[in-house]
């Protein structure tokens, strides 16, 4: 994985702009950075409840009725399709295609004696008016790579529902890997977990590469594509009940925040994918961020070092010597207006705080 130093991060003005966009959410904490994702494209068997439409219902009824009809063994009876057509009047060729479509849905089948018959699923569909429709398709699942890389941290990637958003492909080294068992484990999770993490409940199975299903082998290949997604992470909500953790995508070209629709929303257990965000910034990290902010502004090093730093969720309170404050005032710095934002930390995700500089 590429080191965080090679990644670009937004400046104070961009952060201030984002803050104004996000203000309605009443953010409690703010992080900015890059998510490293496994974009896992894999073949799955999905099961959807499918309502039985009128035409199919009538055709199934007609098939069932013809099945139940006693056969006359003496006289030469018309073919099954012709008998069915006497009920439905759609023409044998069209009826055959409708039956074939029903067979593909698993609702009808050709019985050994050559006539069409309802399957057990077809009979159940007639009773309930709907049926579980299994479809084989390729799906994309995103898994967020733990900060610092899974290999080093020992943590496994965590499923993240991205609501259709895409990251950008990202070059990785040979150490990049993904354990398919993580995906299988997600499929095996209970419904409550899937709902909580927006994992698609209709996905029942990851089609194995080796098994001989109706899907050709090459379509059963799982592909992992490394992606990077610039994001702003917001912890919003005052109380635990309404607390939610939101991720917003950022277009890196002009640091444009796509604040209208979050990329993902986590409620409980939001720190599971991002365990490093649960901890507050260290003193060293705060000091380093403060130094970096001061460096281009020509502040005296002894003044900078003399400041007392106290971070909270959204602020870095700085108790500074008078000379430093005066100098900032002379320079009409945003820091004195509460509009100077800095990023604390050196990882791929960094806490964004606003500077609150006061005279010590």
């Amino acid at each position: 994985m590429t080191a965080a130093t090679s990644l670009a991060f937004p400046g104070s003005r961009a952060l201030a702009g984002w803050w104004r966009q996000l203000a309605p959410l009443q953010p409690q904490s703010l992080w900015v950075g890059h998510l490293f994702l496994h974009r896992v494209e894999c073949p799955v068997a999905s099961v959807w409840p499918q309502a039985l439409d009128g035409l199919n219902r009538f055709v199934l009824q007609a098939v069932a009725a013809e099945q139940a009809r006693p056969r006359s063994g003496q006289q030469i009876s018309p073919s099954f399709l012709q008998r069915l057509d006497k009920r439905l009047h759609l023409g044998p060729s069209l009826l055959r295609q409708i039956l074939r479509a029903l067979a593909l849905e698993g609702l009808a089948e050709v019985a050994p004696h050559g006539e069409w018959a309802l399957t057990a699923q077809g009979r159940a569909a007639l009773e309930r008016g709907e049926y579980p429709r299994t479809s084989h398709e390729r799906r994309v699942f995103h898994f967020v790579e733990p900060a610092g890389g899974g290999t080093t941290s020992g943590q496994l990637p965590h499923f993240l529902y991205l609501n259709g958003h895409l990251g950008v492909p990202w070059p990785v080294g040979v150490d990049w890997s993904f354990d398919v068992n993580v995906l299988h484990a997600c499929v095996r999770q209970p419904a409550a977990w899937k709902q909580q993490h927006s994992f698609p409940e209709e996905v029942r199975e990851i089609l194995p590469l080796a098994a001989g299903t109706a899907v050709p082998a090459w379509q059963r290949v799982i592909v992992d594509r490394p992606e990077r997604l610039p994001v702003v992470l917001v912890l919003a909500g005052v109380t635990d009940s309404n607390r939610q953790f939101l991720g917003f995508a950022v277009r890196q070209e002009r640091w444009a925040l796509q604040a209208t629709h979050p990329v993902f929303i986590l409620r409980e257990d939001w720190h599971a994918p991002f365990p490093e965000l649960g901890r507050g910034p260290s003193e060293t990290a705060c000091r380093q961020a403060w130094r970096l902010w001061c460096q281009p502004r020509g502040l005296l090093a002894e003044d900078v070092e003399a400041c007392d730093l106290r971070p909270d969720d959204l602020h870095l309170h700085v108790a500074a010597p008078t000379s430093l404050v005066e100098r900032l005032r002379t320079a009409r710095s945003d820091a004195l207006k509460g509009e100077a934002w800095i990023l604390i930390g050196e990882g791929t995700l960094r806490r964004a705080v606003v500077l609150d500089v006061r005279v010590r």
Binding site: V40, E41, C42, P43, G54, L55, F58, Q61, A62, A65, A68, R69, P70, L81, K86, R87, L88, H89, L90, G91, S93, L94, R96, Q97, I98, R100, A101, L104, H136, E137, R138, R139, V140, F141, Y161, L162, N163, G164, H165, L166, G167, V168, P169, P171, W176, S177, F178, V180, S198, P200, V203, W218, Q219, V221, I222, V223, D224, R225, P226, R251
Partner: protein, 1050 residues
């Protein structure tokens, strides 16, 4: 499988950001489809090892860049593009198994074509000359695909080819077709079976016919239910009748039983009667029996008493007799001794002592006689009494039996009367029963018999049927209501249920249901492109996106067509000749189909080898040496075999190459072949066959190269278990290319020597550099045409050799009617005279020279004064431009009259069609037919058209007017050589050409572009006419199949 986001939403194909379109942005399916087969195998292997693939492991192309990202649906087309460029080396050969065809009349070649088309993973090309059954094969492929649940897109450049296939499929329930209507087509002008397949007609059928039928079905079901309600009350009555019947039946049975017992009963009663029985008052039968018994007893008693007395007397007589005999016995010896004087006997002396012994003996014997007579009389008396007793006994028994029989008869009569009464009652019941059963409408539901069980059984079935009728009625009501409300909805779903869409290439894109607008929804498993020869590459590629596999059906190029030529849009401009541009023909340039065929088909006739006779010596040409390269050919002798000459082509700056090997006259072809293979490792195969056909037999593998079996072929042993069979054919007389004197018929591989199919194919590939990819199929059997006609036409048009077959037809397959007559040909004139004189010599091709220029009979209607040479009544109404040939038109009409009036083999009008190459000539012939008195009744029914109107249609007899007859210029024939070929191939049994031999001869001398024809087209036409002229001169491959007639005699 569709790619979709983890949740319900679909994933866009490419995401935002600067890397859009980069290799990693491609989806797996797109990448896989664009990868080479080797890359595909490598990727699958890697995925199997790792459990998944990483995008950065996708392979790069040779230049180090990642593989080009194809368009989302361009995957399969990638392969197509490769094949079109000739890159077939990565294609794995496929050999699909045979399929069980529905059309059982398909020949082996057609079945093979079907199997290959169905089994191909990507592309299959089927090539066949006109009349070889391409449409039937296309129809069978469609049926096979339908059986497999596949959707098929059938395309063709024109509607005629489509409709031909659809006609075959018209009654096939497996296929649910939709025929797309072209912009210039009107449904009402289509044949009924095609019209029924149009989308509009199907929707109309759903909206009107289905709804109407559903309503009728509902009414019928309701009627059935009402009838059932009425019939319900019948069953109790039927049951009551059945019970009555049952009771009556029991009574009758009891009566019959009694009747059966009457004799026994009477006998039993009589047996109990004796003479002493009491006589009941009301039983005269018993009384009579008693009287009879008493009488019998009385008579018998009297006889018995007499018998007793007689027997006593008899006993007494017997005793007397015994006593007398006892007295006689001692006296008889004494009397004998006395009478005979036996003095020495003591008996004599004793007799003397006892007095008159003899006298006493006589007296005693007399008494004995008397006693015996009495005894005899007594015996006779006893016998008489015994007889009398027996007679009396019999009389008594007879009387007894008579009394018993009379009694039994009387009782039977009584019972019969009762039986009759019951039968009458039964008849009444039966009548009631029948009337009641008639009230049950369906005979099958009536009780089988007037019995309770039968009624109950029938009632049970009736109730079940009534339940079904009730259910059917409910269903019919609901279904009719649904259809009335949802017919529109059903119409929108019709495309989903269509498994065959037939469209012209030009129409498909704009079709609202199956065109580009519906491309995402309506894709196909198989695209069948019929008449692919007439389709451009871009047209095909546009349509090819809609399917994952393609079957292209076309015909070989006319000999002389070049490969490949750029596609040129068809021109609708009318040429100077007045012939309109034929869709798909006029602007046709052979192109991608031939290119694909060239790349995919293993054609052994394209091998560069040739075996020719040079004087007495055999020469094997290993490569083609152009005439201008001859000067670079050097000759040298083989060191250890100086009789063999090697000719080496040593072109400047190129490596010398062995070009020809000439063998001494003493060496046979077999020795030469063995030598080449053994010493030079060369395997020069020359064959006219155009396909590799493998046949697997239990003991050997056969690779058949020639169409003819080669009965005279001889084997050449090449190596262990491999034999080449070489046949010798006669050189073509006057052929336009080196004669194929020796050709390889087949190659055999003995299984006992370890050969199998894989090894044999590899052997062939190594030595000949050709391999069958399993993606092409040749249709070689002319089904439509009479063999002799096919042989001539295939030779004329395609330079194809058909095996010469004996022609069973009574008339010539091809006839050329010369207009004007060939009066200059003396030999011909003599023969015609001979024919007229009845000497039975048929006209035959002219052996002598043809006129060197035309007779100038054609009239250009655009020229100011030419029209004046036509009768005024014909001139009016003819087109203002174009060519006519009045004499030729007259000849056509006369021949038509003759054909229709021929007593020996009369033809009906529906078996003849007339083709002319120019619209004005078409019109002129029509007018002449209208004016001809014998044709006035039927003339209107004979089609007279341009060639384009006859596409995909054929007639037993075609009369073709070539029209052109210019006095001094070389002229073309018709719009294009393809139009001419089309016209010539419309006949099934007989083709009659009308033309000016001189104009043809002049045309055959011209090379290069001519009139509206470019070099290539003019060359093709020139070649065709040249071959025709050769036939007129009595040459060609099948000279006996073409007969020459005089126009004036027609």
């Amino acid at each position: 499988m569709a790619a979709a986001e983890g949740a319900a939403s679909a994933v866009p194909r490419s995401g935002p950001g600067p890397e859009r379109g980069a290799p990693h942005a491609m989806l797996w399916e797109d990448f896989y489809r664009s990868a080479s087969p080797a890359q595909q195998v490598e990727l699958l292997s890697l995925a199997a090892r790792q459990g998944l693939l990483y995008a950065h492991q996708f392979p790069s192309t040779n230049n180090g860049t990642k593989a080009k990202v194809p368009e989302p649906s361009a995957g399969p087309l990638h392969l197509l593009a490769n094949v079109l460029e000739g890159h077939t080396q990565d294609l794995a050969a496929v050999f699909p198994p045979p399929v069980a065809v529905h059309d059982i009349e398909l020949d082996a070649g057609q079945r093979e074509a079907v199997a290959r088309a169905i089994g191909t993973p990507d592309l299959c090309l089927i090539q066949g000359l006109p009349g070889t059954g391409k449409s039937r094969v296309a129809a069978e492929i469609i049926v096979q695909a339908a059986v497999r649940g596949q959707r098929v897109l059938l395309l063709a450049p024109g509607p005629a080819a489509l409709d031909r296939v659809l006609e075959i499929l018209a009654d096939c329930e497996l296929v649910c077709p939709v025929r797309c209507l072209g912009a210039d087509e009107k449904a009402e002008h289509l044949p009924s079976f095609v019209r029924a397949m149009t989308f509009a007609e199907k929707v109309r059928s759903l909206r009107e016919q289905s709804v109407q039928c559903a309503r009728q079905g509902r009414e019928q079901a309701e009627h059935s239910c009402r009838r059932r309600q009425q019939e319900g009350s019948l069953w109790p009555r039927l049951l009551e009748l059945a019970e009555s019947w049952q009771q009556l039946d029991n009574e009758r049975a009891a009566l019959r039983e009694r009747q059966a017992q009457v004799p026994e009963q009477v006998r039993r009663e009589a047996g109990a009667v004796t003479a002493d029985s009491e006589v009941p008052a009301a039983s005269p039968f018993i009384a009579a029996l008693v009287v009879s018994a008493k009488t019998r007893r009385k008579i018998l008693a009297r006889i018995d008493a007499a018998l007793e007395g007689e027997r006593l007397e008899q006993t007494a007589s017997q005793q007397i007799l015994e006593k007398l005999e006892g007295l006689v016995a001692p006296l008889r010896p004494l009397a004998v001794a006395r009478q005979q004087g036996r003095w020495w006997s003591p008996a004599r002396w004793w007799a003397l002592l006892h007095g008159d012994v003899v006298g006493r003996l006589v007296a005693l014997e007399s008494q004995i006689e008397t006693a015996r007579a009495a005894l005899k009389e007594s015996d006779e008396t006893i016998q008489g009494l015994s007889a009398e007793r027996a007679t009396a006994e019999q009389g008594a028994q007879a009387e007894w039996a008579h009394l018993v029989d009379a009694e039994a008869h009387a009782r039977q009569e009584d019972l019969d009367a009762q039986q009759e009464a019951l039968a009458h009652e039964a008849a009444l019941l039966q009548n009631k029963w029948d009337n009641l059963c008639q009230e049950l409408e369906l005979p099958g539901e009536r009780p089988a018999a007037p019995a309770v069980t039968a009624v109950n059984a029938a009632h049970g079935l009736w109730q079940a049927q009534a339940g079904q009728d009730e259910e059917r009625c409910t269903f019919a009501r609901q279904w009719a209501a649904y259809l009335e409300g949802a017919a529109e909805n059903l119409a929108t779903r019709l495309p989903d249920y269509t498994n065959l869409v037939a469209s012209t290439t030009a129409t498909l894109a704009g079709n609202p249901h199956f065109g580009d607008a519906a491309a995402g929804r309506q894709n196909f498993d198989l695209l069948i492109l019929d008449d692919a020869t007439f389709v451009t590459e871009s047209e095909f590629l546009q349509a090819a996106r809609r399917a994952s596999r393609w079957v292209l059906i076309g015909q070989p190029t006319m000999d002389g067509e070049q490969l490949p030529a750029p596609a040129k849009p068809a021109s609708s401009k009318t040429s100077r000749s007045g012939a309109p541009g034929m869709p798909g023909l006029a602007g046709l340039r052979c192109g991608f189909f031939q290119r694909l065929w060239h790349h995919l088909h293993a054609d052994p006739s394209r091998l560069p080898y040739a075996w020719v006779q040079e004087g007495e010596r055999i020469c094997c040409r290993l490569r083609t040496v152009a005439p201008d390269q001859r000067r670079w050919v050097e000759s040298e002798r083989v060191a250890d075999f100086p009789e063999i000459e090697l000719r080496i082509l040593a072109l400047p700056r190129l490596k010398p190459a062995l070009a020809e090997v000439v063998f001494p006259a003493a060496m046979s072809i077999h020795e030469a072949k063995e030598y080449l293979y053994r010493e030079l490792q060369e395997f020069p195969v020359q064959t006219p066959g155009r396909c590799l056909k493998w046949h697997e037999e239990p003991e050997r593998l056969l690779l058949r190269l020639a169409r003819a079996p080669g009965a005279d072929a001889q084997p050449v042993l090449l190596e262990q278990g491999v034999r080449e069979w070489v046949g010798c054919a006669q050189a073509e007389a006057g052929g336009d290319r080196p004669a194929a004197v020796w050709h390889t018929c087949r190659i055999e591989f003995e299984r006992s020597a370890g050969w199998d199919r894989v090894r044999a194919e590899a052997w062939i590939h190594d030595r000949l550099q050709i391999r069958d990819l399993g993606r092409t199929a040749c249709l070689e059997v002319p089904h439509r045409m009479r063999p002799a006609l096919a042989a001539v036409l295939w030779d004329l048009l395609f330079d194809e050799v058909l095996p010469a077959e004996r022609d069973a037809g009574s008339c010539p397959a091809v006839e050329f009617v010369a207009v004007p007559p060939l009066t200059r040909g003396r030999g011909l004139r003599d023969r015609i005279k001979a024919e007229r004189a009845g000497r039975g010599v048929a006209p035959s091709p002219l052996a002598g020279n043809l006129p060197r220029s035309g007779a100038g009979l054609e009239l250009d209607l655009a020229a100011p004064r030419h029209g004046d040479r036509l009768p005024s009544e014909l001139r009016a109404g003819l087109p203002g431009r174009g060519f006519v040939n009045y004499l030729e038109a007259q000849a056509v009409v006369r021949r038509l009259e003759k054909l229709l009036a021929d007593v020996a083999s009369p033809l009906s009008a529906d078996k003849i069609a007339i083709v002319a190459l120019y619209p004005a000539q078409v019109e002129l012939i029509r007018r002449l037919i209208q004016q001809a008195a014998p044709l006035q009744k039927i003339g209107a029914s004979i089609p007279v058209e341009l060639p384009g109107a006859f596409q995909e249609r054929e007639w037993p007899v075609i009369l073709l007017s070539l029209t052109r007859s210019h006095a001094h210029r070389t002229v073309t024939f018709g719009e294009s050589p393809r139009a001419l070929a089309l016209a010539m191939t419309r006949a099934r049994t007989r083709l009659i050409l009308f033309g000016d031999p001189g104009t043809c001869a002049r045309r055959s001398q011209w090379q290069g572009a001519l009139d509206h024809l470019d070099d290539a087209a003019a060359g093709r036409e020139g070649l065709l006419i040249t071959r025709l002229v050769r036939y007129l001169q009595g040459q060609g491959r099948h000279p006996r199949a073409l007969h020459l007639s005089e126009g004036s005699s027609a």
